[in-house]
Amino acid sequence: MENRSMKGWLYLLPAILFLGVFMVYPLIDVFIYSFEEGYNSASQTYFGVGTYNYSYVLHDPYFLQAVKNTLILVAITVPVSTGLSLLISLGLSNIPKLRNLFQTVYFLPYVTNTLAVGLVFMILFRKTPYTDGLANLVINFFGGESIDFIDGPYWAKMFVLCLYTVWVVMPFKILVLTSALASVNETYYKAARVDGTSRSRIFFRITLPLISPTMFYLIITGFIGAFKAYSDAVALFGTNLNAAEMNTIVGYVYDMLYGDSGGYPSFASAAAIILFVIVLTITCINLLVSKKHVHY
């Protein structure tokens, strides 16, 4: 028996090693970093312990800009992408014929490289001396003025960022919602039809309550994902996001750690923990709300 008990741990050993070194230890360490004031990464020394790092980050205009950007991004993309994917999934569940083809097409963005396709979005929306870009062509067609979406006004840049983010997160949501809709037992709909229930009533009184657990799962993961936005922004606006006013909280963390403004792991840690606290709070609020509204 003694021999067997050791064996179990032996099988776990590789996983424990990797998780210990690259997950558990860093988790503890990041808290320590965030309270070490004046940490110098070259000499690995620090002056004292306190909350200065937090106060620095919270007063850093770049961080505040990043928080603002991230909040706008979350507030727009989560509802838009969830609503749109619900609409599309409902459409898909109504067409048995071409459903598989459409589903496969819709899933494509999931397997593409965010950085790579971001470049395509960039050239579609960018205005250069040589060309106004395809997006502006469409705007001109409807009588609008050309706008540079990549180096132009803040709202235009935010628009492209939101659009691209929605484009990237839709495949996952459509897939999950389509399978949730497909798993609703057909006889509920039959029963409702026989009772002469209108389509909108079937949707609001039967379908929506029955898929509400999936909806809340998507909303929660959507919030978490949108708060961690970063590579979409890099793809569109390049690595110097602070200059483009398009930085996100995660981008701020990495910039503090490494890059042109890097070398401050303490500030990075403080920012990462602030992000974690925000995400945790919002997730908890989401869970509380879902307890009230998810029906079973």
């Binding site: 039809r193 026989v194 229930t197 029955l210």
Partner: protein, 366 residues
């Protein structure tokens, strides 16, 4: 309300490329009289649920017509037909309480049928009382037993006062004891409401015990309709004879020769006006009477005592299958050591069928 089906046919596209279309229901014509409880009976896959869906309007007919009284409802969508359905899995909305489930159909009423909240609640309560679940109104379906869910489903189907009540295998999800109880319950509710009710089942005992009328189907084709006892006593063909009755009917290879009905070498009856031919002879288990001087000589295999009666398992050279079973009252003494056993046969329980097309040969046996 009476339901009439005329040459009803439903085909489904075959699966896979070049697969032929499947005829689930083939040229079905029958009439269900007003206010009766009708059992639609057949083995699984015979198209009986399809018939139910065609009557309800959930499926579109391929050809033929459906009438409710004199109204042609063939192309009317389900929601306008005024039918109530009890589904096999009950289809109770899991997120709504029992009361909300029962209220649901009434909340869809439009125009002059619209009810006030008060009226709806009164009707819901009346329906709940009818099926004796009025104490469970605040529960959710997951908190109910199978039998209770079944009752809620019936109440929900009845509350909108449907012209027709359709039930798809209403008892199949219940355990044996509950099934017996619930089927009497269904009978009672139908008698009280007098709503024309069609229920689908593959269990012949269930259909026989509570139906006013049974309809037997096989492979989408109507086999026979009639009162349960009539169909049992006078099956139109070998399939119906085999399908009804437990233990099942015993089938023998027989022949008619010179006015005599023979099983192997045993002459069992005289028949008149029947040409010489090979026939199937089906004998109900209760058609055997133990008699030393009987005409049917068999090898005894086993005697099973079952309390009320005794079942004799024996073989005969002309047997289809390995052995047959005769049921006799337990007051008859059987020597289970004996190697052979002889029977006389009750003429009404012996049913000859043509070997060519398995239809009943109408002949008087003496």
């Amino acid at each position: 309300m009476k339901i009439v089906l005329e040459h009803l046919t439903k085909t489904f596209p075959g699966r896979g490329k070049n697969a032929p279309d499947v005829k689930a229901v083939n040229d079905l014509t029958f009439e269900i009289p007003d206010g009766k409880l009708v059992g639609l009976l057949g083995p699984s896959g015979c198209g009986k649920s399809t018939v139910l869906n065609l009557v309800s309007g959930l499926l579109k007919v391929t050809s033929g017509k459906v009438f409710f009284d004199d109204d042609d409802v063939t192309n009317i969508p389900a929601e306008y037909r005024g039918v109530g359905i009890v589904f096999q899995n009950y289809a109770l909305y899991p997120h709504l309480t029992v009361e909300k489930n029962i209220l649901f159909p009434m909340e869809n009423f439009k125009g002059d049928k619209k009810l006030s909240k008060q009226q709806m609640q009164e009707r819901a309560l009346a329906a709940a009382k009818l099926v004796q679940i009025d104490g469970l109104m605040d529960r959710k379906p997951a908190e109910l037993s199978g039998g209770q869910q079944q009752r809620v489903a019936i109440a929900r189907a009845l509350v909108k006062q449907p012209r027709v009540l359709l039930m798809d295998e209403p008892l199949s999800n219940l355990d044996a004891r509950l099934r017996l109880q619930t089927r009497e319950e269904i009978r009672r509710i139908q008698r009280e409401t007098k709503i024309t009710t069609v229920f689908v089942t593959h269990d012949q005992e269930e259909a026989m015990s509570i139906s006013d009328l049974i309809i037997v189907m096989k492979d989408g084709v109507l086999q026979q309709t009639g009162k349960p006892q009539e169909v049992y006593d006078n099956p139109a063909n070998l399939f119906v004879a085999k399908f009804l009755g437990t233990p099942p009917i015993n089938v023998f290879h027989g022949c008619v020769k010179g006015g005599k009905l023979m099983l192997g070498d045993d002459v069992i009856f005289k028949v008149k006006h029947v040409e010489d031919q090979d026939v199937w002879v089906a004998i109900r288990p209760e058609g055997f009477l133990l008699d030393k001087h009987g005409c049917l000589h068999c090898q005894l295999q086993n005697v099973e005592v079952m309390g009320r009666d005794v079942s004799i398992v024996a073989t005969h050279p002309a047997m289809e299958g390995e052995s047959f079973r005769a049921i006799i009252p337990s007051t008859t003494r059987v020597d289970d050591e004996a190697a052979t056993v002889s029977f006389v046969l009750h003429p009404e329980k012996v049913l000859p069928f043509s070997k060519a097309d398995e239809t009943r040969i109408d002949a008087k046996l003496v």
